[in-house]
């Protein structure tokens, strides 16, 4: 009998990114592979560091909202509103009710747009190129609404300290209502294309599961946390804007896998539609912002505020020192925690699942790198 020879195998180090079709721009994942199975994963971040927080110390309260939109470009409304709310909290500025309702309305529209973009790119990551076009087509409908109000498609500079910058044009309400009607049908379309697609189910079921305890340990928030069955949503837990006056539900998942995160986002879009409708019905008349001097000065003080963005808890800690610029702005963003969470949940998965799992967390890189 011939002697048994032990075959020596070597692992492979694969640099996924920073320029890779599915790392959403600029994340680099250092993967140690055994065949196709991932033995370890090290995310390398900072390829899009733009000095966002430092810039806040050199721009006035009027200038900076334009920059903070770029902090999280898919949900530009959220960061803009967050910054304005922080300054208002410190200065004790009372925002007129119309501005509050309009902010709520815009945030929810933006949430739908962000989830739609996620849906398209996620399916693209999984290899289906058809749905991207459908999702982007419907996202254009929302962008048109934004354009009607702010004149911009992506980065709006909508919120300002003391209210919002632009009032709704007269046709806005009619257009939003048209959109609501169309979009409900479109969600049903997506569900028939995607949710009942056997190949899609095969790819996402039981993939990327994690326990609620683990998620909490890594401070995961948003849909990735709710998919494990923890009902944590800042809109309900510490209501801001007009969220305590509107009626909506916070759906949660059961298993904490990728399918749950997909289902959650679809359900959230429906809930957002409900909120948008209520906002339209109850939109009060009045001023859209309080009258402030040309040079906005915020008295010394500090505040931390957090909003529930489509990706999770996005927070800002602002220290003001009585001048027209803030002394320090610290941003807390969900994507950072989610990228940090990656090495834990990617362990032992396959290369193909990197996309399925990473995509399902809906990470956006400028938020991580700032």
């Amino acid at each position: 009998m011939p002697e048994l020879v032990e075959v020596r195998t070597e692992g492979m180090v694969l640099n996924m990114g920073p320029q890779h079709p599915s790392t959403h721009g600029v994340l680099r994942l250092l993967l140690r592979l055994d065949g196709e199975v991932i033995k370890s994963c090290t995310p390398v971040i900072g390829y899009l560091h733009r000095g966002m927080e430092k810039l806040a110390e050199h721009r006035t309260y009027v200038q900076y909202p334009a920059i903070i939109d770029r902090f999280e470009y898919l949900t530009a409304m959220f960061t803009g509103v967050l910054y304005a709310m922080c300054a208002e909290r410190i200065a004790g500025i009372e925002v007129p009710p119309r501005a509050i309702w309009m902010r709520t309305l815009m945030l929810e529209l933006n949430r739908i747009a962000s989830h739609l973009f996620w849906l398209g790119t996620y399916l693209l990551d999984l290899g289906a190129n058809g749905l991207l076009f459908y999702a982007m087509r419907d996202r254009e409908l929302i962008l048109n609404l934004f354009e009607e109000v702010c004149g911009a498609r992506l980065l709006y500079s909508y919120a300002c300290v003391g209210g919002v910058r632009f009032d709704n044009p007269p046709s806005f309400e009619r257009h939003v209502r048209e959109f609501l009607k169309i979009f409900l049908d479109r969600i049903r379309d997506y569900e028939s294309i995607v949710t009942e697609n056997p190949v899609f189910l095969e790819r996402v079921q039981e993939v990327g599961c994690y326990s609620p305890e683990l998620a909490l340990q890594y401070a995961v928030s948003g849909p990735p946390l709710r998919s494990t069955g923890i009902r944590k949503d800042l809109r309900k837990d510490q209501p801001y804007l007009a969220y305590d006056q509107v009626d909506f539900a916070v759906p949660i998942g059961t298993k904490g896998d990728t399918l749950d995160r997909y289902l959650l986002r679809m359900a959230e879009m429906r809930e957002s539609l409900k909120i948008v409708e209520q906002c339209l019905d109850r939109l009060p008349d009045g001023n859209i912002r309080v009258k402030l001097p040309n040079v906005v000065k915020i008295p010394a003080g500090e505040a931390y505020l957090a909003l529930e963005s489509p990706r999770g808890e996005v927070g800002a800690y602002m220290v003001a020192n009585g001048t027209d610029k803030c002394y320090r702005l610290k941003l807390r963003c969900p994507s950072f925690n989610h990228v940090q969470f990656l090495p834990v949940i990617l362990l032992g998965e396959r290369i193909s699942d990197v996309m399925a799992i990473f995509g399902s967390l809906d990470v956006i890189l400028p938020e991580v790198d700032r």
Binding site: E36, A128, G130, V199, E202, R203, S352, M355
Partner: protein, 381 residues
């Protein structure tokens, strides 16, 4: 070629060479048309106009692409294995053309014989054997590029090809029992007389299995893991540029046409019309040539469009799920199919067909009941 051969009276090797030249020259515009059609079709599918600027209605789009790729810098990476790197696209592209040696594109009617280069007695066997040479090209490209993504793509390609060759070949075996011949011409002739004699009715399971496997053979969605754009950048051809990349591109579409042609021959009656052909047409040589070639191309085109439709709809399967699907599902299914066909072959074709349709129906019902049992997951409010 039989008619031409009798007309020209040239020695057989020379006729073969002429045929090969015709196929090669003829397939280039066909592939160009398929690329264009895919773009326009997918465009319409996703509610876009698709290419419409280049030439009249965008018809020259692929010509522009081809010219550009031909004149682009040809690049070999520094640490690549130069010989293999050079050979890989050739080995990848040649089998796709070779398959057409036994493909009858039509018929000259009467006793003039079919339009094909070589009526091999082992036609189907030749097709499958030649077609699987692709894989060598994929592996060579993946290895020679000295790129990790390419290597992964190459290895995936081989694993996939080995898995899907098997059910693909087995799906033909039932047909061989029914037709009693491996020759492509005989298989088509066995399906004569109208739609009810076509083998996709007698062998529904084999037909479906073949469709799945053929998509895997040409590495298209949902089986495109060797390329897997969102995972492996561009898979085994990541490092190829210009002309050599064009060869991979071209080969993909020629193979797509080839697999559809094979399906047409084996399951859809080749050049035959779906009803008994009137004597007026079968009588005229040239008339029957256009008639039969028209039917053939129509069937092939329909199948190709089907593959494009699938591409626009489905996500990609994971590598291990792909293997599971081949080994745990397709292979047992075709084996059972083969067994049943063999048992019932003695009792006539209709018994076979009836049995298989019944089995398919039962299986579909079973799948439905299972799907109903595994209730759809919902979010909790």
């Amino acid at each position: 070629m039989n008619l031409l051969q009798s007309l020209l009276n040239l020695p057989e090797p020379l006729m073969g060479a002429i045929g090969a030249l015709l196929i090669t020259l003829g397939m280039l515009p066909v592939a160009a048309m398929l690329v264009l059609w895919e773009r326009i079709f997918l465009g319409k599918l996703t509610q876009r106009p698709g290419p419409n600027r280049v030439g009249p209605r965008g018809l020259l789009q692929t010509i522009a692409d081809a010219l550009k790729l031909l004149t682009k810098e040809d690049f070999t990476p520094k640490d690549a294995d130069r010989i293999l790197f050079f050979l890989a696209p050739l080995i990848f592209i040649v089998p796709s053309f070779l398959v057409f040696a036994v493909v009858p594109f039509g018929h000259f009617g009467g006793t003039h014989g079919p339009v094909l280069i070589a009526d091999l007695r082992t036609g189907i066997f030749f097709m499958v054997a030649v077609f699987s040479l692709h894989t060598v090209g994929i592996l060579m490209a993946g290895w020679a590029s000295n790129n990790k993504y390419s290597l992964l793509g190459g290895i995936r390609g081989v694993a996939q090809a080995i898995s899907y060759e098997l059910p693909l070949i087995f799906s033909f075996l039932g047909i061989l029992i029914l037709s009693g011949s491996m020759s492509t011409v005989d298989i088509i002739k066995a399906q004569g007389g109208g739609l009810h004699n076509w083998f996709f009715l007698a062998q529904p399971v084999a037909f479906l299995v073949y469709l799945a496997c053929s998509v895997a053979e040409v590495n298209r969605v949902p089986f495109d893991i060797p390329e897997a754009e969102s995972e492996l950048v561009s898979g085994f051809n990541t490092e190829y540029s210009g002309m050599r990349f064009a060869m991979f591109f071209l080969a993909e579409y020629v193979s797509l046409f080839a697999t559809a042609a094979i399906a047409t021959i084996v399951f859809l009656g080749g050049w035959l019309a779906p009803f008994p052909e009137p004597a007026v047409i079968t009588g005229s040589t040239l008339g029957y040539f256009f008639w039969s070639a028209g039917w053939f191309l129509l069937k092939v085109f329909t199948l190709v469009t089907l593959a494009m439709w699938v591409r626009g709809t489905l996500p990609r399967l994971r590598a291990d799920q792909l293997m599971d699907f081949a080994w745990k599902f397709l292979v047992p299914v075709v084996l059972v199919n083969l067994f049943v066909t063999g048992l019932l072959a003695l009792w006539g074709r209709w018994a076979v067909a009836g049995g298989l349709w019944l089995a398919l129906l039962l299986w579909a019902l079973y799948g439905q009941s299972r799907a109903a049992k595994a209730e759809r997951r919902q979010v909790v409010y």
